[in-house]
């Protein structure tokens, strides 16, 4: 298993390199560059200033030189310095990553607590009214865009009940309750949007598993319906669902960008959004590096949990 994980990690390197190259190039292809933006804030600047700033930021070099400098820095643990804030990108990432991680983790928790029980219920009561309600809900969640749902939650409760979600961020370790009261609304919304696909997948897989011969064997032994589900069906049904959750990881991060902005969560999503608007290249590259590592790490976790769920994989 350890050798397997090591091999997987080694395989990540080229993937990450390729991804970073794409991000590096595409950022610089977006019209409008950072110098223009900086100069626009300062109307006494001249063409000479422009060249100076470019040189100072290292942007006068050819793109491949910039890229290799960046990579070289990354290899030494140096992600560069924010062009606007003048602080190390690594510091910004360290400050924002735990916040986004918390949001993602809470959202995943919400997604699973909604998707698994409802998916299982739906499968057990196939084609009953409850099943239809659950499936319609999941379709609705698939169809409704996150930003729209987020805006609804911001606007309508305040109009109807004069209640608005808490928009003030408090670090978790300072006041966990206050932190959660802020995070819970975006976490629920993000979780619900993730739950749709997971719920449908859970239902489909459970239906498939409940048709299997070994389920009939379990029933023939006198196993109760509850234990048939919990002991005999669930693990078999969840194996593909776990993969799906892994595949949804990038979705989670995309969702974080949207909900962090709406609910003013100072996480990596917000950092990324501002950096893109300001063409703060090192920050954008840094965020994508973390996202890339994160997605690949999640997939590794998925692979490992596969082994735990499926004995056939474990023994290979």
């Amino acid at each position: 298993m350890q050798a397997y994980i090591a091999r997987r990690l080694a395989a990540l390197v080229p993937t990450l390199l390729f991804a970073s190259l794409i991000v590096f190039i595409s950022m610089r292809l977006i019209p409008g560059d950072v110098i223009d933006l900086m100069l626009a804030q300062n109307d006494i600047a001249t063409g000479q200033d422009r060249a100076k700033i470019e040189a100072a930021l290292g942007l006068d070099q050819p793109m491949y030189v910039q890229y290799f400098r960046w990579i070289w820095g990354v290899l030494q643990g140096d992600l560069g310095i924010s062009l606007w804030q003048n602080v190390p990108v690594a510091d910004q990432l360290l400050a924002t990553l735990p916040i986004t991680f918390e949001l993602g983790f809470l959202a995943l928790l919400v997604a699973l607590t909604v998707a698994l029980p409802i998916g299982i219920y739906s499968a057990m009561r196939q084609d009953t009214a409850g099943d239809y309600v659950a499936r319609s809900f999941s379709l609705l969640m698939l169809a409704v865009p996150g930003f729209w749902l987020g805006t609804l939650v911001m606007v309508f409760p305040s109009v109807w009940w004069r209640w608005a979600p808490d928009l003030e961020y408090t670090p978790f370790f300072e006041d966990p309750l206050k932190n959660l009261s802020h995070m819970i609304v975006p976490a629920i919304l993000l979780g619900l949007s993730m739950s749709a696909v997971t719920m449908r997948m859970t239902r489909t897989m459970m239906l498939e598993v409940l048709r299997q011969d070994y389920i009939r064997t379990a029933r023939a032994k006198g196993v109760s319906e509850r234990l048939v589900i919990v002991r005999h069906a669930l693990r078999n049904g969840l194996i593909p669902v776990v993969t799906l959750i892994g595949l949804q990881a990038p979705l989670l991060i995309g969702g974080a960008v949207i909900f962090e902005q709406i609910f003013v969560v100072p996480g990596m999503g917000l950092l990324l959004l501002e950096a893109v608007f300001q063409r703060d290249y090192p920050v954008v590259s840094g965020v994508f590096l973390v996202v890339g590592v994160g997605v690949l790490f999640i997939n590794l976790v998925v692979d490992v949990s596969y082994g735990w769920l499926d004995p056939k994989v474990r023994h290979q």
Binding site: T217, A220, G222, R235, N236, P311
Partner: protein, 325 residues
Amino acid sequence: MSLPAPALLDISDLSVSFRTDRGTVRAVQGVSLEVRAGETLAIVGESGSGKSVTALSILGLLGDAGSVDGGRILFDGEDLLALDDDAIRDIRGDRIAMIFQEPMSSLNPVLTVGKQVAEPIRLHRRVPWREAYARAAELLERVRIPDAAHRLGDYPHHFSGGMRQRVMIAMALACRPRLIIADEPTTALDVTVQAQILALLKELTREADSALILITHDLGVVARYADRVAVMYAGRIVETAPARTLYGAPAHPYTEGLMASIPGVDGAIGARLPTIEGQPPDLARLPPGCPFAPRCQHVLDVCGTVPPPLERVAERHLRACYRDG
């Protein structure tokens, strides 16, 4: 002379149908069977003749699609069809156990073999898992799985088909059931393994003094293992007799056809065996009269009117046919 003991299992006039897109499939019609304590009854018939459906009805495992339209299944004097879910569940795996055809798919791939064998013991005897596992180890030894005690933690994919079927047998024997239903337990196995598994099954059921319903489509298998035989065709029993009688003097044209297709001891190797021409009827569109008529070489005018009733031809020998003799 003493009265014969009452049957352990007494099925009378059982009818089961499935609602499908093609209409109502009459899978079992008016089946009556008796199994006495310790006895082995073979149910024989081509694929699709209603053997599995009959077996599954006994344990109430037909699922949502199938419905029992009539009949009674008495087990130890208790009507299984009248029991509620909890009561029938208490009987499953405890007093009646079942072995299925597909050893590859009938064991749960993510649970250890030990757990699967121990499960019914834990469930019905309410003993701690540890004790159930100890008993499971004994059972695996009884079915002659080599190094049984060390294989409790193995998963089904570690075992060959024949070994898995041994595991299934161990599981079925776990609670010393009064009745074991084995639905084509060797059909999916290599020919060389088939005989071993059947012999083992027979030996262990005899040791446990369990009755056995052995379902098979191979009449050749029956001779060695069954006390009595019921031959099914298109959802009905067409002939039933003690095994010896049936072999010596089959009375139904369908049974005769099946007999002719058994490779005999004196049969030349490689000689083509006669098979019964034609196909069984569509159970959703059964013809009136005898369901075997389209394939029967002895067909009479009366055969196309109403299905022949099961009637006595000799002591304990019944058949459903209009032919004389």
